[in-house]
Structure formats: structure tokens, C-alpha cells
Symmetry: D3
Subunit: 242 residues, 6 copies
Amino acid sequence: MKIKVIVPIIAKTFEDEVRRELASLATPGVEYDVESLDYGPASIESEYDEAIAVPDILNKVYKAEKEGFDGVILDCFGDPGVRAAREISNLVVFGGFEPPMLIAAGLGDKIAIVTVLQEVIPMINGLISKAGLKDRVAAVRHVDIPVLELIDIQKLKDALFEQSVEAIKQNHAQVIVLGCTGMMGVSNELMERLAEAGYDIPVVDAFAASLRLTEATISLGLRPSKLTYMPVRAKERKWWGE
Amino acid sequence: MKIKVIVPIIAKTFEDEVRRELASLATPGVEYDVESLDYGPASIESEYDEAIAVPDILNKVYKAEKEGFDGVILDCFGDPGVRAAREISNLVVFGGFEPPMLIAAGLGDKIAIVTVLQEVIPMINGLISKAGLKDRVAAVRHVDIPVLELIDIQKLKDALFEQSVEAIKQNHAQVIVLGCTGMMGVSNELMERLAEAGYDIPVVDAFAASLRLTEATISLGLRPSKLTYMPVRAKERKWWGE
Amino acid sequence: MKIKVIVPIIAKTFEDEVRRELASLATPGVEYDVESLDYGPASIESEYDEAIAVPDILNKVYKAEKEGFDGVILDCFGDPGVRAAREISNLVVFGGFEPPMLIAAGLGDKIAIVTVLQEVIPMINGLISKAGLKDRVAAVRHVDIPVLELIDIQKLKDALFEQSVEAIKQNHAQVIVLGCTGMMGVSNELMERLAEAGYDIPVVDAFAASLRLTEATISLGLRPSKLTYMPVRAKERKWWGE
Amino acid sequence: MKIKVIVPIIAKTFEDEVRRELASLATPGVEYDVESLDYGPASIESEYDEAIAVPDILNKVYKAEKEGFDGVILDCFGDPGVRAAREISNLVVFGGFEPPMLIAAGLGDKIAIVTVLQEVIPMINGLISKAGLKDRVAAVRHVDIPVLELIDIQKLKDALFEQSVEAIKQNHAQVIVLGCTGMMGVSNELMERLAEAGYDIPVVDAFAASLRLTEATISLGLRPSKLTYMPVRAKERKWWGE
Amino acid sequence: MKIKVIVPIIAKTFEDEVRRELASLATPGVEYDVESLDYGPASIESEYDEAIAVPDILNKVYKAEKEGFDGVILDCFGDPGVRAAREISNLVVFGGFEPPMLIAAGLGDKIAIVTVLQEVIPMINGLISKAGLKDRVAAVRHVDIPVLELIDIQKLKDALFEQSVEAIKQNHAQVIVLGCTGMMGVSNELMERLAEAGYDIPVVDAFAASLRLTEATISLGLRPSKLTYMPVRAKERKWWGE
Amino acid sequence: MKIKVIVPIIAKTFEDEVRRELASLATPGVEYDVESLDYGPASIESEYDEAIAVPDILNKVYKAEKEGFDGVILDCFGDPGVRAAREISNLVVFGGFEPPMLIAAGLGDKIAIVTVLQEVIPMINGLISKAGLKDRVAAVRHVDIPVLELIDIQKLKDALFEQSVEAIKQNHAQVIVLGCTGMMGVSNELMERLAEAGYDIPVVDAFAASLRLTEATISLGLRPSKLTYMPVRAKERKWWGE
């Protein structure tokens, strides 16, 4: 089994973090590769950022299929280009939103998403609506830290704990989903801290969930439905630089 | 009042049709301009086509604001780039989906959309879900004609009539929305034909509805909410060809 | 184009205000007329008030069609008699609820309605449910001022500002709809005050929205669906005073 | 316990039928009275009919409270004036829609309503939406017989059987609600005929259900919530003939 | 008419309370019987408790049908075994959840349930979802008193009052449903206390509502749908102790 | 990692089939065990069957935790006892419903379930409602074969193909979920047959999906939320045979 992780931004810093994370999560017998974008934004924090990330994401997906990968992970909670990627390939394709949400849905009734910034909440609400998961989501909260500042890990941890406690107390959340794939490697500690505070609930890491769901789906021999994601028609398409 | 119509494809044929349509719909005192894309697909019939159309759409929106336009119409039923365009500008921005749906919602309880091809239906269903309009939509049907073949106007008219009648009989539709902005100039005749067949119901032309809603919104002095479409942050973004 | 505004109450004070507002909103080439009720309540603030307003509203609609009007506006946020009026006429008919809600739906994801009194909220919730707009409404709040006291314009403005800020902060509203057609001529100032407070969002005036949507619908050549609003059967109907 | 049945039409024929039905359903110790309208339509088959029935309904409710009744039944499936009647009185008030729907909801998962005419279906759909019962309703079908022709009892019975079977087969209905209070005295035979055809399911008579729910509610010492149906304010209200 | 009340726990204390309550609610001409379980939990406060109560509940239902009862009440707000009991019998079967919710739905728009403990709220939310009543429920709150401690009646009354007021103020509830059948004989006093505090709203006692709805359904000649609750197939089933 | 599969019926035939299936699906390094019930039904085809299966299921779960298992699979599409099992243990617990539905939700928009018999459809609809997945389910269809006759594998395969094609054509399904864990080992062939018929869509085997989701969840270090499934209180509980 071969899985390609596409980090859909041009900032290479995250690429290394993803490699480290992958090393700790690696399943024996699975081959992984990580690749960032050549064109696109430094981080995805708006519909605009997502829009300009997608063309090069799709280039990388096209290439991944040619290279013989079985699945690709578009490593962003906004699921950028996921549907288009399923149209143009026969691969198992997941972004960072669907997998943690589906895993969370199997662990408790009411899910809270804790994301980075207020401005991405409408985009996340759109994903929730499209996925038909509104009845399961108690709240979408944010830590108010831009993606590229998530590197200040202690600040992130404290803010996540604070927002998770509010989600539990005010919004009656029963499961926490970390709403940015950049919030890597913090879910276990957060889970412990919440348990110590009396809240023994799961905290779902978006990237790890995406990895495991991709592996599970491939191992089940399943691929995205070609009635939902129908193959694209041949036609003239003019790319930049052509 | 100045309104820019962006035809989000590279095929120039539609540009002229839009100009003709605009001429017949023009409101006194409003200035219009029409522009196609330099980069993108020949037509939008998939999530993939939409994805590669959006970057140049956003370029054109950015330019339109600089040129002093009050509103832009992204002339495609898929609402490509609409949300991103509202983030990066202070203009009234509408695509081809929201306006006819909102107009239709004021004319009857149950709406049927008749679009071009089966493969765009999941995309349209996603727009319906995000717009919270599921309870109002009786069906999304298709005429099975690709966008670039809509030019065969008689075939289109017959297929639209047939699908509209099925929508009324089988799906209990009470209002028809033409689900592709390329289906221009056919709504009146369809309305008459349906009335003759005993179905006195409105047929909403997507482009005309978009034009009127854009004009109405501008004249009301309203613009998209900056709490839904928050301004984007400054950051590195690498464009193609840079 | 000829549009009749029916002010569905017997208090003539509002009639003059509506005329003034119309004068400032008038579209060149459109002819307007304003008419109040002969029978009905002094104001509409309950299902009961609405019930006793409707028969004379329908008389006026019947007369308006005979007089050659193209559209009528039933100028109350409760949409009194709107559906019945569409059954008995072939006019474009709008009340004060649907138009601002549809306009608002095109400007942001989450709408808050700020209305006059607590007792009209169940009626408004009923309209929201029937319109299938529950997913778009963040809250229905009230300023606690009876309709006939809206004349104290400064009190109204302050209360609207206060409730709008609460709607934004507590209910995450992104668009404000003024939930009484008597709240005329205050939306622009409210929009400015909210922008100064850091909330750059649209505030939709119900009457102005209704006027523009009526004009747009007429200019599009559309009328309410006769499959939703089927013509009424001839039968004995005994009116008061007969 | 005293219950007043208001037959909200001017045709006196139904009044006698209601008396006969009441006689067969009477609960020992309960006193009943039946009254028709002085002003209004011969039958209710549109939003328009309903609108002109309501003022005199409310007069009768007002009088019933003065006369010492504990509850009133507004005997029409459209629930005409029910909400207003709850505002202006302290009585238990039911129409013909809510009670059979609530009784049916306790008997099976999926309910089909079989009503008189196509034109009342949008009104019934509105009631379903306002009642939040959409998930429970499999279909609203009609026998295509006007209210005043329900007197042809054999035609009614055959049409009800036919539509009920279609509702079961095509719409997967599991409970039938007779969607007009004029369809009296036919539910038992219909239930038997369906059982013989292999469908052992309940058929709910709207008037009988309304009677029993009114009695049950009164005997439980409960009345409509004054937070949903707040008392109306004193103000000028001009009635016809004044 | 003969009605059997099955108190689905092994603690006999509640059995006597139910008899007393029945005596005060008894309808002339109806015969009642009360029976507790031989096997099962001392009280139902979890999905686990419910699971181990159900087999003996079904034994008692089977016996009740043989003994000639017309209806059975499974006297617990969790509706334990209600659906299975409807499969294996031809009786009118109600638990403690559906009846008060349906009665409440006829009395106001927004219902709050006040139950015993936090741990039963997910179970109640499941019942609400299955019943399709989500739009009608404003909140599910709890008094934080275990079932077997409800005997401290003053503590219960105070806690119910406090939670009801919060439900009204914070959750905009308009009707209160007591969310445990063990909260007997307190609804009237609570209704009075709320009215004195300015909230003139109904409080629905679960057991009383269940009794009245059972009686009403039997008197209407209706039974649960055999298309929802299809008869069970003959097959090997091994019971404990066999 | 140790996973126990509880086959929640007394028929031992299925136990061996599950062992064979497990052998073909086994993940290296994971230890599996299979166990049937001592008390309960021969198959689960009704709410009644489920009710009498659950107590012994919970016994087996209790034992499994003591024996050091990390997860248990309650191998039935009805998810029998899943919620109770999560209350009384700290294990990862999945039934046969949630996992295939969540896996399917990641593969296409519209899911059809094809189950065994008409009588289990209401139970499945209840699970869909509780899971908040109504918007994703296009249809629940059945092959009309009892569980214990699934052994006639060719008949099953043909019926599944036929119902899947109907689900695609009539209900617009895009993903098929096999709605009985007894339908083992047929999904691949069905997928191929559908592809040959022009429908290239995934078919999800319930048991296999459950196995992979259980493994994935354990490997992510996650367990069910103790705020959804709160620990049960100590109290008297009388078991059969005590």
C-alpha cells in the first residue's frame, strides 16, 4: 500500500512536521510520501487561500496516480480539492475534515470542532452542511491562532484546553475534533488534561484520523463512488503558463 | 451603477451571447461590462472545471473592484469562486445559483432545477445543502446536453419542456429554475408551453435573476457581510508563472 | 409598472410614513399607490390582529388587480394574507417577511431578525419553518417596543443597535433583518453604527427589500406559481354586512 | 366538562352530521354543543376560504369562553384560527389537524394524509412544517372530491381506499390520517378493507381524534402555553359592520 | 376497557405510588392493574438498565394480552421495550416518553424536558431524534436527583421549579415535560408556582399523559400499525433458565 | 491489539463463517476471538429479537473487558446493545451499523442500505435518525430473505444485485451498504457486477467495515466518550436465574 500526503501549502516547514508525525504513526508495510505545493498560499485560512491552492493540489494528485499510489491525503481541514481529486483519479482521496468527523461520529453523539481562526468557521460550517452532519455538531470554536503560529506549541495546548472545556460546558460537546491539520501531536496530552479535569472524552487528531481512514478504506478494497464523482469530460482547458 | 459580468470560461462564444442578453435586459442608467477568462476550462461541468476556473475569476474580480464596479456576476450556476470573491472585495458578488433560487423561493413552495448533465448534480446538491434550501427543492433533473452543445436551441427547448413536465408530475415541482446560465433566452417560451400544457408556473432564468438581484442589492446599499466573508490575511501566496 | 402598497392596519399615520419612504426609494418609471385598511387592527402584533386584518387586505388586493396594478406589497413582517392573495389574483404579491429574508440569505450565512415584541416571535418562527429557512436563522430577538411606539425613533435606534450587537455576539449573526415594516428609515444609520463597533455587516430594511424584490420579479416577467397558489373555486361565501 | 364544536363554515348540512357523529362518540358526563358560522365560506378549500372564515370563528370562541365552555374544537383540518383562538382565550383549543397527527404519531413511524383536493396540499404542507412533523409524513395525497361532495359516501370510501393503498405501496405509509374533518364515519370500514387487503394499519378520523385529545387535555388540567400564545394587547380594532 | 401498568423495575415502592396515582386519575368504567418486574434493575437510569429491564417487560406484555387487557403502559420515560411490545402483541402500548411529548406538542411550540440525571440525556436525545421531534424541543435539562431519591418530594419540587425557570429564560421553553415517570403528583403545584413567577405554561406529567393517551387511543378503536411493528417470525429463542 | 467478535445469536453456524471471514481479513499482529450467545434468538430480525439478545451480549462484553480485549464488535447491523456496552466498559465497541455507514459516508453522497427483510426497516430507520444521517441515505431496501436463509449464496447475490440496481436507478444511490452482517463475502463480486452494468460504485460489507474501524480507532488511542456513555451507577439489578 502506497499513500501520498499532499501538504497543500508552499511553506515547507509543515512538510517536515508531517514526516515526523508520519514516522510515529506509520503502519508496517505501508509506504508513505510527502509533498508540498509549488504554487499556492503559505497557509489556508480563507476560501481565497483554498481556491488558489487547489489547481496545484490537483496536479499533484494526477502525478500521484501515475506514480502508483493507492491513496492521497490532502492534508488540510478544509478538504481543499477533495471532490475534484476524486473526479480526476481512481484513488482513495481524503482531506482533513471528513475522516476525523466520521471517526468522531463513532465515539459520541455531540462533536465540537476547535479550529484556528474565526474566518474559517463559515467554510467549516459549509463542509458540515454538505456532509449532512449538522445534527452531530455541537459547536465550532476557535483558538484565535493563525496556522503559521501554531508552532508556539504551549500556547496552542493551553488555548485548545480552554476552548475544549468551554465546548463541553457551554455547548454540551462530548467529543473534540481538532479543526486544523496543523494541530499535530497535541491530542493525547489534551485528552489527558481533559480527563484530569473530569471530562473523559476522545480528542480526534485530524491528520492521524485521515491516515487511518485512508488505510482502512484501501485495505477494504473500496474507492470513491463514480456516480458521485463522475469522470471529467475531455475539453479545452488552458493552464497558467501555457 | 456599474456591473461586471465575468463569464468564467475561456470559450469566447458565450461572451457574445451574454452581451446580447444583457442588451435586452439592460436597466436604464446601469453600465455593464462582460469579460471571459484567460485561463480555465472551455466550460464548467465538474468540480474539476470549477477548481481551475476560480483563480482567474478572482483576478478579474480584483480588477473589477479597482475599475470602480459596484457589483460582479460570476456567470455560472455552480457559483464558482463566489465566496472567495466576497472575501477579497467589497463588491456585491453573485453567481448563477443563489439569485434564481432566492427568486424562485418567493414564487412557490417546491422548486425543481433542470440542469445540463448528471455529473453536475452532486455539485448542485452541495450548493443546496450549503444554502440551507433542501426543504424547498423537489428535484434536480438534467437535459443531458453538454454546455457547449446548448447552442442547438430547439433540442434544448424540447428537453427542458420534457424535464419540466416530469418535474411537475413526478416530483410535484411548482417552480422551475434553469440550472445552467448557458440556458439563456428560453425561459419565456418554456413558461408559455407549460401554461398551454396546463401548468401555469414560473420558470426562472439564472442569468436574468442574477442581474436583477445584483441591481436590487446595490440599489439597497447593501454588501456581503464581512462576518461571513472576513477579509483575507496578508501572507505569501505564489501564483503560477511567478 | 404599477405597484400598490397595502398598509394592513387602520392607523393612517403609517400610511404617510410609507409615502415618504416610497418617495425616497422610488424607481423611475414605476407608479406607486398606498392604501390602508377600512377594517382591521390599529397594528399587527398577534395572530389575532393578523386574522382580523386579512379579509380587508384581500378586498384591497382584489381591487388592485382590477385597477391594473402589476404587484402589491402587503406591508407587514407577518406576511398577512400573502398566500391567499396569490390564490385570488395574478399579481406579484409580497409581504414584509419573505423579501428581506431572501435578500439577507444572499448576503451572509446566519441571519438574525430583530422584531418589536416577544409575542410575535412564535408567529415569525412559524414563517421561518414554512419558508424552510431554519438553518439560516441564528436568532429572533425583540426590542420590546409596540408598533405604535416605534415613532420614538431614537429609542428604536438604540434598542436596535443593542439587540443587533447581542445577536452578533451571542447568536453569531452575520446579517440583521429588521423584523417589522414599521422600522423604516433606520437601517443605514444602524449599519454605520455597527461598522463603527467593528461589525461590518448588512442590515436589511423589510419594506425596501420588499419593494425591490417586487420590482425585480415584475421586471423578470414572473408571477407566483399557480401550482402552489391554485385558483379558488366558486362557492357561496358570506361577507360581513351582507 | 363542556366542549363546543365550531364548524367553521356557513353550510348548515355539516352541523347535523357533526351532531350525529358526536352522539355516537359522546363521553358520559361531557356536555357538547355545535355551532356553525354566520359569516364565512360554504367550505374551506383554500387559504382564501380559511382567511374569511377566521374572524367569525374567533367571535364564536370568544362567546364560548363567556358561556363557560372548557374547550373548543375548530372542526377543519386546516386548523383555521387555532393559534389566534389560543391567544384570545384560556380554553383548550384544537383544530382538526394537530390532534389526528399527534395520535397517528403514537401509532406508527410514517404517516400519510389523504385529503380532498390538490389545492389544499400546500396549506397542509405548511401546517406540517410549522408543527415540525416533516420527518414523520410519508405523503399528502388527495381523493379529488370537493368538501361539499363528500356526501357521496361510496365514492369517498372507494377513493380513500385507493389512495391509502397507493400511500402504502408507493410512499411506504404505515398510518393513514383522513385529511378533512368532513370525512366522518368512514375510518372503521376503511381500516377493515385495508386489513383485508393485507395492510393491518390504523386509520385516524380527524374529528374523533380532535374530540378525544380535547377531552384528554381538559381532564389533565392543561391549557395552551401563554408563552406561545401570549395575550393580545388592547388597541383599536375596527370590525365589519361597526 | 382494561389497562395494565407495568412498572419496569424491581423496586416495589414505586408500584404503590403508581396505584395511588391511578386511584386519583381513574376514569369510570376502566379497570386498571399494576405490576412490577421480577427481573431487572432497581431503577432505569442508563441504556444498560433499560437493556436488562426489557426481557421481563416483554414477558409481562405477553401475559397482559393473554389476560385480556386492551392496553399496557410501560411506565418509564425511556420507552423501554415499547417497540418490541408492539411487535409481539395487538395491544395499545405506550411508554412514558411519547405520550407526554405528543400532548405537549399540542400545547405550545417549544418543549423543555426536565429529567433526573445527566446520564439519561443522550438516551432521551435518541428518543427525540427517532420521534422526529427535534424541532420542537428547546432543551433537555436535569434536576440531578437519582430515581430512587425522588421520594424527597420537597427537594424534587424545588429543583424542578429551578430547572423549569432556567428552561424558560435560557432555552425559551414554552411547555415543560417532566422527564421521569417517577416525578408523580408534582405537576400541578409546579404549574402554579411557575404561574406565580409570571410563566403561565403547562407542565405535563408523563404518567398521567400516558394514561390519558392510552385510554383515548383504545376508545378510538386504534392499535399500533402492523406495518411499523410487523409480527415477529417463529424461530428458536433461548431464554434464561431454560 | 485484541478484538473480540460477539455474534449476538445462539445459532453457531454463523460463528464459523465469521471465523473464516476473519481469517481472510486478519491484520498482522492483531489477535481475534469469536463468541456466540448462550441465551437469545437464533437470528435478529425484529426489535423483539434484539431485546432478548442484549442481556447476554452485555455479559460477553463485561467478560471481554476482564479478559483484556481492546475492542469488541457486536456483529449485527442493528447495533444491539452497542450504547449499553459503551456505558459498562472502557472498550472500543462497534456494532454492524455505524462502521459501514461512516465508511460509506466517506465514499459518496447518497447511500442505499440493502437489508434482509421488510420488518427490520423501521429499526434501521431509527438507527439512521439517531445517527443524524438521514440526509445521506437515499433508500433502505430489502432482498426479502430471512437471515438464516442467507446461506443460499447465489440467491442472495442475485437479489442484492437486483436491489442495488433499483437503488441506483430509482433512489439515485451512489454507494451500497449491505444491511446485514450475515451478508458476508459477497461485496466484491457485487461491486464487479455493478461495474459491468455501468455502475462503478463501492459496496460496503458491514462486518469488514466494522473490523477496520475498530482497529483504526484502537490504533488511534481513542475510546467512546464518557460524556455520551456515562458509567452506570451501582444499584440492585436482579438477573435471570439468580
